[in-house]
């Protein structure tokens, strides 16, 4: 597993290329998986090799949400990554492939930025996406 810094540099390098070919799609998907591996490992878990809906990325995301509902903040980002991978893989000769890869790169970069940020500040996404459960054990005492 490459370091997050190396993954970030690779994504930035891909984002700065004027044109990408269809072979970039599996690499971007793989970079997304590596980003999620970092999150799962940081939670003390072994990153899953399973797939969900045919994609390890989605299985890793699911695993990353265990006990951490705010990780759902990147659910749609993961699904968009898979969606763009499917678009490029199923129609590599499509005239829109270049644009799809450009968007896929930025989606993968967003996943990287979110996870890297959340590894530094765990509460990222907590307010907005998780709607912190009321019944969590650590909840403070009731107001008077």
């Amino acid at each position: 597993m490459r370091s997050l810094a190396v993954i970030g540099q690779r994504l930035e390098a891909l984002a700065s290329q004027p044109v990408l070919d269809a072979e970039a799609a599996p690499e971007l998907l793989s970079l997304g998986e590596e980003v999620l591996e970092h999150w799962v490992s940081a939670q003390g878990r072994e990153p899953t090799r399973d797939t969900r809906e045919g994609f390890r990325l989605l299985a890793l995301h699911r695993q990353g949400c265990t006990d951490e509902p705010s990780f759902n903040a990147c659910r749609e980002t993961c699904r968009e990554l898979v969606y763009h991978y499917n678009l490029v893989s199923l129609e590599p000769q499509h005239p829109g492939t270049g644009q799809r890869l450009r968007m896929m790169t930025l989606v993968a970069n967003h996943l990287f930025l979110f996870v890297a940020g959340k590894l530094q500040v765990r509460e990222l996404g907590d307010f907005c996406c998780a709607s912190r459960p009321l019944r969590q054990e650590a909840a403070p005492p009731d107001p008077a």
Partner: protein
């Protein structure tokens, strides 16, 4: 007229704190658009903060109470059936309070105790329906109704619609969404796209429409927020957007402020304009840029809209 349309003609308006401060232009444009569309807004009397992030993070039940008080006033004192909150944070918190009161007896007990102590009626789950400004226009008027009232057009303006996170997450507090054709989608929301398309905009394919902007961490971890926002803006520009349309004051001010910060801190200049969807709709309804507060945004985009022939 359908029951929903009838119900949304006159709603209790809960602007929330942000719309009285940094998002004044959202408040101004929402009210101006409502007037132009013939939809009535009656501001909730003596409203309070919804609990936002600060209270929720310290004491979630107190946040439930604060949101329930707003709904209690609308239901018991104003006899309204619908509360409209244009702010995603307020909208989210009222929906969350509604959910918690319906599903957690302990929350209901705390809300009842605090309501009695404060001397107002205890809000009971289901007394009012909380909606967003997008629901209000999309379902209260409909696309055909909007089309009939247009006095101008957005003239093919390329728009990336950014909904932010709180409009759709977590899914369980929005039971009316994901109900098939006509309902809003939590994974790919489209109400803003639908309304702006009627007004003459061209919606670009934008894959980060609900992506995290790091909004809640804009002060505590500014660099992460700036990078997330910059990536959202880059994606919008790469998709061909001239404008990012917003429907949340937190998202909007985050996008505008971090757009400036990204240039200063990271040397990454971007050109896309960031405006509230109500400002765009207002201009398509024939309102002047000043009437919808374009001059009150962080970045004044008046010249841009004049050049496009929209203002």
């Amino acid at each position: 007229m359908s029951a929903t349309r009838d119900k949304y003609q006159k709603v209790a308006y809960y602007p929330g704190c942000a719309l009285e401060g940094t998002a004044h232009s959202y408040n101004r444009s929402t009210q101006a658009v409502g007037k132009a569309l013939g939809l009535d807004l009656v501001e909730v009397k003596n409203w309070n903060c919804c609990g936002a992030m600060e209270v929720k993070n310290i004491d979630p039940k107190l946040q439930t109470y604060l949101s329930s008080r707003v709904m209690s006033i609308a239901a018991s004192e104003m006899k309204m059936d619908v509360v409209m909150a244009p702010c995603n944070g307020c909208y989210h918190n009222l929906k969350k309070a509604e959910y918690d009161l319906a599903h957690d007896p302990k929350s209901a007990e705390v809300v009842d105790r605090l309501s009695k102590k404060a001397g107002h009626a205890t809000y009971q789950a289901g007394q009012v329906e909380t909606i967003h400004a997008l629901d209000w226009i999309k379902l209260g008027l409909g696309e055909e109704g909007l089309r009939q009232r247009l006095r101008g057009s957005l003239k093919g303006l390329k728009v990336a619609n950014y909904y932010g996170c709180m409009y759709t997450r977590p899914r369980h507090i929005f039971p009316e969404k994901d109900q098939g054709p006509g309902s809003e989608s939590t994974s790919k929301p489209h109400y803003m796209d639908d309304l702006l398309a009627v007004a003459g905009a061209v919606n670009v394919e934008f894959p980060l429409k609900t992506a995290c902007c790091g909004g809640a961490h804009t002060l505590s971890d500014s660099d992460t927020s700036t990078k997330l926002v910059l990536n959202i803006i880059r994606a919008a520009e790469a998709a061909g957007a001239e404008v990012i349309a917003t429907e949340c004051p937190t998202c909007h001010s985050g996008l505008e402020m971090h757009q400036v910060r990204a240039e200063k801190k990271f040397g990454q200049a971007t050109r896309v304009k960031i405006v509230y969807f109500t400002q765009l709709l207002g201009m398509a309804l024939g309102l002047s840029p000043k009437q919808v507060g374009v001059h009150e945004n962080v970045s004044d985009s008046l010249d841009f809209f004049k050049e496009k022939g929209i203002a």
